[in-house]
């Protein structure tokens, strides 16, 4: 059909079919030459070996400090003592319960922060008056340590989960909202123009163009939001302990202090660190990598 149209519309007799075929062949050649295939390379060693070495180094320095008696054992417990604390918790069967108490709280709080921070960020990014009113407050809140919210939250709600979630929200909502705002601000104007010519205006424009285009910034905000959720939760758990709240990682740390159990304190700190990193590595990093890779924003290797 295509070739008949051309034959009809070309004013020169001759061989239009051949020209079209020529063009097609030339194009096929160019396409094959120019497609860049990302080489699938095994980056396992490059990604896993360096952090593994770094951890080994830290442990080695730690052990050296202990065995050379550079510091007092009441100031720095031996790695083996911390390991013993861990096995003890494991044998008591409470290790995972403690971790889960904090993680479930942290994730639920984070999801709440997500549900509030996203529409808030979108409003601040898109509505000028809202940005003028709330923008500075949101940035300011981000630099306020969320531990500051623990005393008022305890006075408002008492020692319960509501108080914990309040502290998490006040810590995480600003960073999620701010992440989305900077994501929206960095959307190339070209995409907005292209969207408008395609008819994506108003809500359609936000849904089809602005949100997906802002996704990398938004994800960075979520990552930071999780870090803030986790930190806020730990602050709340350390300060406010009550039997009603159950035993989380923060309380574990605080209990260690009360019992002058330095290995226990170190163990709690390490667990808090590991959980924070694990959630980031298991959820946010793969998500971010997927988004960036699919857009060609990260060069492999």
């Amino acid at each position: 059909m295509a070739s008949t149209d051309i034959a009809e519309s070309t004013s020169t007799p001759g061989t239009p079919g051949t020209t079209t075929d020529d063009l097609a062949a030339l194009e096929a050649g160019l396409d094959t030459i120019e497609i860049r295939r990302t080489p699938i390379r095994e980056t396992f060693l490059k990604k896993v070996l360096p952090p593994f070495l770094a951890i080994t180094l830290v442990l080695a320095v730690w052990q050296t400090l202990v065995s050379t008696d550079t510091t007092d054992e009441t100031k720095l417990p031996a790695p083996s003592a911390v390991w013993d604390s861990l096995t003890q918790l494991w044998l008591q069967g409470t290790l995972f319960e403690i971790i889960w108490t904090s993680v479930s709280r942290g994730l639920l709080g984070f999801l709440l922060a997500l549900a509030i921070g996203t529409p808030l960020g979108l409003l601040v990014a898109r509505v000028k008056a809202v940005r003028a009113a709330l923008g500075p407050i949101l940035s300011g809140l981000q630099s306020l340590p969320s531990v500051a919210w623990v005393p008022p939250a305890v006075l408002w709600f008492g020692l319960n989960d509501t108080m914990m979630f309040t502290v998490i929200l006040l810590g995480a909502v600003p960073s999620i909202a701010n992440g989305l705002v900077s994501g929206v601000d960095q959307v190339p104007p070209l995409f907005l123009r292209a969207g408008r010519t395609l008819g994506a205006t108003g809500i359609k424009g936000v849904w089809h163009i602005v949100m997906p285009a802002a996704l990398p910034g938004y994800l960075a905000g979520l990552k930071q939001g999780w870090a803030f959720s986790w930190r806020s939760l730990m602050a709340a758990e350390i300060i406010a302990s009550s039997p009603d709240l159950g035993l989380g990682l923060g309380q574990l740390l605080e209990n260690g202090r009360n019992n002058i159990d330095l290995p226990g304190v170190f163990l709690a700190i390490l667990l808090i660190l590991i959980v924070g990193i694990a959630i980031d590595l298991l959820i946010f990093s793969p998500l971010e990598r997927h988004v960036l890779h699919s857009r060609g924003l990260v060069v492999r290797n």
Partner: protein, 263 residues
């Protein structure tokens, strides 16, 4: 012929115009005061006509295209596009990197109101029209520069507009790819009977593609001269007839630019 009837049924207005610009002027307010960018431009594009607007950098040709696209409003004068919102292609492909090539086109179809069940087939058809039938699931960054512009062309065609506006769409690709894209554009233009308003600073490109070349002077942009190109298609950019006319137009373009140095 069939396409012509379809276009007529879709309601090209009585005057038979794809785009009509009447005494269009545009000025921007800058710190230095009011700056006139376009001065009294009157231009008609007939249905199925291929017009290139040629001018040196800063002559306001992109501004003119934005006005026709409805992305900006003229200061005075009126712009009429009876066929509805024109499709627009940019110098950058402007494809959305979070979607595959096919989904970019399907988004355009969706925004036009094409039912979900038809979008995939229609996207495939449009990709085949630009000879990228196999690229439906490809990510934008996996495509070469020329392929991206062809997907962008397919996406513009997905708008099913009577008028396609092109803002130096081939300025950023290499010469051989540009040559191929010229061939594709001519072929698609002939197959679809689209009206095209094509902006460029490349004289040979203008002559290679257009039925009519409109030369714009710079600061402010005014229509300096017009040429009708009656070299039969398919042309080649190396054709002697193309070269000859290009030489003549280049002389005028130079004269326009020299005038600026004198005051």
């Amino acid at each position: 012929m069939a396409t012509n009837f379809a276009k007529a049924a879709r309601g090209i207005n009585a005057a038979g115009l794809a785009a009509g610009l009447e005494h269009v002027s545009k000025s921007f307010v800058s710190p230095a005061g009011q700056q006139l960018v376009l001065d009294d431009i009157s231009l008609d594009v007939a249905p199925g006509e291929f017009v290139t607007i040629l001018g040196a950098s800063g002559c306001g040709k992109s501004t003119l295209l934005n006005l026709v696209a409805g992305l900006d409003q003229p200061t005075t004068g009126s712009i009429n596009t009876p066929g509805g919102r024109p499709a627009l292609m940019f110098q950058e492909h402007a494809l959305f990197p979070w979607l595959t090539a096919g989904k970019n086109i399907e988004l355009a179809l969706r925004l036009r109101g094409v039912p979900k069940s038809e979008r995939h087939t229609e996207a495939k058809r449009l990709l085949e029209l630009v000879r990228l039938g196999g690229a439906h699931g490809k990510r934008v960054h996996e495509l070469s520069g020329g392929m991206r512009q062809r997907v962008a062309m397919a996406r513009a065609l997905a708008q099913d507009s009577d008028l396609l506006l092109m803002d130096e769409p081939f300025a950023a690709v290499d010469a051989i790819t540009r040559d191929v894209l010229h061939g594709e554009l001519t072929r698609i233009w002939e197959e679809t009977n689209l009206s095209v308003l094509f902006v460029t600073h490349n004289v040979r490109e203008a002559v290679r593609l257009a039925q009519r070349v409109v030369l714009l002077s710079s600061r402010p942009g005014r229509i300096a001269k017009e040429w009708t190109v009656d070299i039969p298609q398919p042309r080649r950019i190396e054709d002697s007839a193309v070269a000859e006319l290009s030489l003549e137009i280049t002389e005028h373009l130079r004269r326009e630019i020299r005038r600026h140095g004198q005051h």
